[in-house]
């Protein structure tokens, strides 16, 4: 019970930090839609192409949006000392890593996931694909959040080169994206995709608290 209470309180804080209200979620979603617009404007309006390209565009945007928010992952809380504060109040570094990962998922990825149905109408992604897209996005977004946690905690150790973390995330996510887009478009083997994604997810989940926690600890020591 106390633990649950603690979690809720952590997320109250995250909520306050990430969103000052509904309008922020809306801005997020608007951002995605404008990005889609931009793709359409630059690629051209031929609708047949999109039923095929749509999946790829959505994946690219998911990736870009999670990269976009990587800087905020631990940086702010680290710099103003709130990470230390949390740690001194009984949140172990590993727990912080897990909670932050989910918080990234909830406050950054979920708004995106919510806009997928509408986006898939705009991009003419068919209904059958939509189902598979959503499932694989749910898994993929969690993977990206975990990777993001690892790389942005690594970034705390490396004061100058903030892009490095993003690059690591992107390199790791290339295989994931190839798998997903391929299989979603090919219309076969969906279960095997889910299997593979779940596998990767489990691995990153297992590694994340350990790796991020260690990085956070060293970062706080060296600060």
């Amino acid at each position: 019970m106390i633990f649950l209470h603690k979690l809720l309180n952590f997320y109250y804080r995250e909520y306050k930090l990430n969103l000052s209200g509904f309008q922020d979620i809306l801005t997020n979603i608007t951002f995605f839609f404008i990005s889609i617009f931009i793709f359409i404007f630059s690629i051209g309006p031929e609708k047949e192409t999109y039923s095929f390209l749509g999946v790829g565009i959505l994946w690219t945007l998911l990736l870009l949006s999670s990269t976009l928010s990587l800087r905020k992952f631990y940086q702010d809380d680290f710099e103003n000392g709130n990470l230390t504060l949390l740690h001194l109040n009984g949140f172990s570094f590993e727990l912080i890593a897990i909670l932050k990962t989910f918080s990234h998922f909830i406050f950054v990825q979920i708004p995106f996931l919510l806009s997928i149905p509408l986006a898939s109408i705009l991009l003419n992604v068919g209904n059958e694909k939509l189902y598979r897209l959503t499932i694989s996005f749910l898994l993929g977004a969690l993977i990206l959040s975990s990777l993001g946690s690892i790389s942005s905690s690594m970034n705390l150790l490396n004061k100058r080169n903030y892009l490095l973390g993003s690059v690591i995330v992107m390199i790791f996510s290339i295989p994931i994206i190839i798998f997903s887009v391929g299989i979603i478009n090919i219309n076969e083997n969906f279960n095997s995709l889910v299997g593979i994604l779940s596998g990767i997810l489990l691995i990153t989940f297992a590694v994340n608290p350990w790796a991020s926690g260690a990085c956070l600890k060293i970062a706080i020591q060296n600060n």
Partner: protein
């Protein structure tokens, strides 16, 4: 006509006309709906889906008209330093956004039976979608900037720049060969449009205008009050 540019006069005038406008908008809406659903014929081509038109077209017109009003007020406010223009802009933006949303949703609902798809990337639809996003951004600007003096100027400039979109929406069907509405347009532009379809359309349009005015009066008045309290 000073009430159009002066908040005190506006308050006085609004108090007088508010009740009649409210009543009128309700009555017109009911009458219009009755006409639209019961007293107008099915289209020989489109069947009863043509009734979507009585929502779609007025809301489309009003979304454009609202933006036009905002553009005019932006010019007034910026060029002649009349803060009432900023007040109107802040108050009216969400109304325009809602009209645009209604237009898009009704258009999509119409498009599914007519074109076989909810959405296509033709010039008119795209430019209306951009209009919607512009409305959203104006609202975000109004919400998220702290300094009132700054944010109203930013919003006004943004409105002015965004108004380039208006002619694009209006004339996109003429300039580009688009999917939007080849059948009905030629129909409506015929000098001899069926009055049984014209009447509900006009009534609904006027009803929408009055609904818009009602909400606008309420919002402008609250906006005036909140600004006095700063």
């Amino acid at each position: 006509m000073r009430f159009l540019i002066n908040s005190k006069r506006f308050n006085v005038f609004a108090d007088i006309i508010f009740k009649p406008v409210l009543v009128l908008s309700i009555v017109l809406l009911i009458v219009g709906l009755i006409f639209a659903f019961f007293l107008s014929p099915d289209d020989y081509q489109q069947g009863s889906t043509v009734r979507i038109m009585y929502v779609h077209v007025p809301s489309a017109w009003l979304s454009l008209m609202t933006y036009l009003i905002m553009t005019v007020y932006s010019i007034i406010a910026l060029a002649f330093r009349m803060p009432f223009g900023f007040i109107v802009n802040t108050a009216v933006a969400p109304i325009g956004a809602i009209f645009t949303l209604v237009c898009i949703i009704s258009g999509s609902l119409w498009g599914k039976p007519m074109w076989g798809t909810w959405w296509v990337w033709d010039a008119r639809l795209t430019s209306v979608a951009v209009l919607f996003i512009i409305y959203l951004i104006i609202i975000f600007i109004n919400i998220s900037f702290e300094n009132v003096r700054v944010r109203e100027k930013i919003a006004a400039i943004f409105i002015l720049v965004g108004s380039i979109n208006l002619p694009i929406i209006k004339f996109s069907v003429d300039w580009w060969n688009t999917l939007h509405q080849p059948a009905t347009i030629s129909k409506l532009s015929k000098p001899s449009i069926d009055p049984s379809m014209m009447t509900p359309l006009i009534i609904m349009t006027i009803a929408f205008i009055f609904i818009g005015i009602t909400i606008a009066i309420l919002r402008i008045k609250t906006e005036i009050i909140t600004r006095e309290n700063i």
